[in-house]
Symmetry: C2
Subunit: 345 residues, 2 copies
């Protein structure tokens, strides 16, 4: 399996995120991707290739143009108002407040965000456009006939919606890739999100569409971030009714409850008969993850890869979360190698 990777991800290197009442060093850090690419190389998973440039057109297929333009200019506007410390938003909409785009940069940060854990920095724009390019390059390789590709995106993307960022995510790399499959001829695309946190952005983007099936296994939003989406009764709406599947699990979930949930998701995906699968690959389900409360073990990730391979479909893995940095490489490559082993057998 080939990996798409660029060191440009290092340009997203936030100083701090708000968590547990404090500004702490960002859990979403460059070292995450570095540990993973090192393991990819050590294990000889396959060739590592750089991304191509796709420009903004495939991005505005899933994100609103005003949101994309905001991300492009946000850092410059922030520096003019506040200097070169990372940009974090100030407040959000309470019930009854209105969606009117403010003029001031602080107000626009507030308008387009949903947490204070996702700093915008000098390098954010380049890093996030390159992460989208990584996903789109992987998509192109799969469309061209590769059985599976690993898009080592960073920063991650699945919390980013059509017009909002948060949860370390700016552009929804997986959604951009899924739309890319559609735009290059795939009739149906399935997204499987195995990140610990609910893929609220992906759900929002495709919620009213039948041409992209979205499925997510994640910590119950009653207990866990992002709290306000990801419940089992959210099954799609309008033309997309019946085309979204949430499988929330309670804190403490081990393989014995995770495996049946993944079987349910894979069954739904097989029934849907997609032309391609996009996997939002988070490994923050790991028992040692510092901000998560599932209890998967290293070997469980090999099983996840095998089960995904069982669908027998062209598959793009898109990197999402995972913050137990030292174990990240092992767990991610276990998924990918598990997939490869099962796909060849």
């Amino acid at each position: 399996m080939r990996t798409v990777y660029t060191e440009d991800h290092r340009l997203q290197d936030g100083k701090a995120e708000l968590i547990d009442g404090k500004l702490q060093p960002c859990f979403e850090m460059p070292k995450r991707a570095e540990i993973i690419i090192e393991r990819v190389r050590d294990q000889r998973l396959g060739e590592v290739v750089p991304p191509q440039e796709f420009g903004q057109d495939p991005i505005v297929r899933v994100h609103k143009p005003d949101f994309v333009e905001f991300l492009r200019v946000a850092w410059g506007d922030w520096v003019k108002a506040h200097g070169t410390w990372d940009a974090l938003p100030l407040n959000w909409s309470a019930p009854g407040m209105r969606r009117i785009i403010p003029e001031a940069i602080d107000g626009r940060l507030s308008y387009y965000s949903f947490d204070a854990g996702t700093p915008i920095t000098a390098g954010t724009w380049r890093a996030i456009t390159q992460a989208a390019n990584v996903a789109l390059t992987g998509r192109q390789m799969v469309t061209a006939g590769e059985r599976a590709v690993f898009a080592l995106c960073r920063p991650p993307g699945h919390h980013a919606g059509s017009c909002f960022y948060g949860g370390y995510c700016f552009f929804n790399n997986a959604a951009i890739a899924a739309q890319g499959f559609r735009d290059s001829g795939a009739a149906r695309v399935a997204v499987l999100d195995v990140d610990y946190h609910h893929g609220n952005g992906t759900q929002e983007i495709f919620y009213e569409r039948a041409d992209v099936l979205t499925t997510s296994i994640h910590a119950d939003p009653k207990q866990e971030y992002p709290f306000f989406l990801g419940h089992a009764d959210e099954t799609g709406a309008g033309a997309g009714a019946g085309h979204h599947l949430n499988l929330p699990l309670r804190w403490g979930a081990k393989w014995d409850v995770y495996k049946p949930a993944l079987e349910t998701a894979m069954r739904r995906i097989r029934d849907y008969a997609p032309d391609a699968i996009v996997v939002s690959l988070g490994v923050d389900t790991f028992e040692e993850d510092p901000i998560s409360k599932f209890k998967l073990k290293r070997d469980d990730y090999s099983r996840i890869g095998e089960m995904i391979a069982g669908a027998g479909k062209p598959t793009l893995f898109v990197m999402e979360g995972g913050y137990a940095v030292d174990a990240l490489g092992v767990n991610v490559v276990n998924v990918l190698a598990g997939f490869e082993g099962a796909a060849k057998s």
Copy 2:
């Protein structure tokens, strides 16, 4: 004019608020009220009296019971999850997310808040119930016949809505007092909010009611916090249609533009013929305020007091914002003494 005051406000003493991308020492600090009470005493404004206890009944007349109960238990639940560092929320609702109350304390903080600048601490519950008692005691004194009373509330209240806190505010002291006037026989009550920031909580609480006229002069929400409410076209709804007045002013406003806005508000209040006026008294319109961008001068506050007295109505002043700490006492007492002088003449 008598002042209602208790040192219990000191129990709200947050360590930090998120502003300009950093956690900074809270601008809303105990010293604010101490400087003001010192000036009240120095200038012999009148007797200083302690608050009486009114319990939760008058609070749940304007705040939802589940919100009040959340504030009562929040600190204890936070300590169990995270220890004794101040509680700040993590994230908020993005478009399309759902209003379902989470189980986890982080999720409930997120559900009931709209910024990360309003820490909940060990003493918050006592401080905020006492601030409500200060307002209610002042209300009772005015109902009993005093021409005007100063409720030196801290923390402030006007950003707090029926079911959310933020902007340093938890209980909406001014709204609780206004409702208290209604519940003790006043047919109509007018609220005048002269804080630099829009009184979004007060607007939300009374927006569909005709028995409380709400008026607010503040920085344009296109430029300034809270950004998502406070526009000129918000004039009330339902039974309250026509009973809300927003007078947003652009950054840099001096007395020459502030005075006509206040005249407009006072004209509306006189036309409404209320039985009592509640003034949300913020002095962060001051030219030296560290987080605000209006340019009022010390003497302008005397004029504000005189103009409010011109309505000739029983008046309760409820303390809100103002962060140029050294000048706070002078500016606040200028309003109150200006009122007294005009009321006697």
